[in-house]
Amino acid sequence: MQNEEPVLTVSNLQVSYDSDLIINDLSFTVAARDILIFLGPNGAGKTTLLRALQNLLPYEGTVSWNARKISYLPPHEFLQRQNLPPLNIEEFYAFKTSDSDAIKAMIAEVGLDESLLSHQFGELSTGQFQRMLIGWSLLDNPDVLILDEPTSGIDIGGEETIYSLLHKFWQNQNLTILLVTHDLNIVWEYATQVICLNKQQMCMGKPDEVLTPEQLKTLYGTGIKFYKHQHR
């Protein structure tokens, strides 16, 4: 059952860099417990949108949150992993909580071995690093989780692990998820809502209803073939 009041209401959002208009007149709402996926080609303004929603960029229009705690994970390529002080994972988690039992429980929840807590940032594989970050982002029990391409650079097996993990947290906690991905399979499998974005809103709704081949061709500017399996 969904709350009546949306978790997020965006009205007439407009974001520019210098004179370039990156997001033009975007309006949408996000209901509690939605998994909203932003879909669009490179340069469509997806990352800009996520940053503007969190007041990390100046914007025009209205962004109104009705959330207790929002956690954000930028693309992991944007996170500094080398040339840092010798920060280990336990110390990184301790930025959010001093409860070592909670830290151990979370590291187990994201499917990582407890021994990794003594490892440094640069010592984790990309897949481990991303799972570790998801655990970190959930440590203070947010009700909204925003992720920007959480599986870029991760192989197919690792990608499935990450999305299964996110889905598990979504099912078990009272989470609303906003997510940027290029992967249409993920949209079909997990999204409750999708927004097609290419500087402006091209579509919004349930994937089944709005992601037609024609819509995808308009969005990406090229023909995309996809196959919907009956066993989904």
């Binding site: 954000y72 840092l84 002080p85 010798p86 280990n88 930025f95």
Partner: protein, 256 residues
Amino acid sequence: MTAQIFLALILGGSIGAVAGYLGSLMLSKRMALMGGALGHLTLPGVALALLYDFDVSLGASLFLAFGVLIIWFLEQKTKLHLEALTAVVFSASLATAFLFLPEEETDIALLGDVSQISSNTVLITVVIVLGLFFTVKSIYSDMILASISPDLAQTSGINLKLSNSIYLICIAVTVALGVRIVGGLMTAALLAIPACTAKNISTNLSQYIIASTVAGSLACVLGIIIYAITDIPAGPLIIISSAILFLISLFKLPAK
């Protein structure tokens, strides 16, 4: 040991400790050379202090504040990077200092001097150092998180502009204190070398912070002890001691 050396050891040990502690953050933000630029900025102030016989750290602080304001102003007015602007301003400061620095005082301005330290100076310095420790501690984890990702830090509720401002003020105050013991040319080493040493021997953040603080303090204490024995200026001896500690740390690099 004379009273003067005893005072110098307390002064040097405390400044070295806080420089090492603060330097551990500069390394993570790749700002290790900023301390050097700021050190050069202090030189006109040190020259004036020597000329008119007032406290060198006070003179250094005044010119640091002035220089930082100029850099900030130019940053607002131009599209140049902070590093480029700092290079312009610190070179101009260095040149200005040499215009009116008394020749006989040049060594003191450039290499520092621990031979004439009053107990009042030590007391005030220790109080400032303690204040710096508490201030840096309050923003330490914020700054580490910001080094990983400014977006991650900001969305975790950290006021990054405030933390950065506090951090820069702490660097400026530490440089102003450091100029007294190592002069205007070597403050970058006072801040950067202990952190490099600590990184070589640490496997986690707690070890790193402690090792950087201890290495900074130990280098100053060793330098001042050698100065007491040899009468060679303490500034270069402190930096050489710090460099030797770094070389020793190379043999203790943790296994990858």
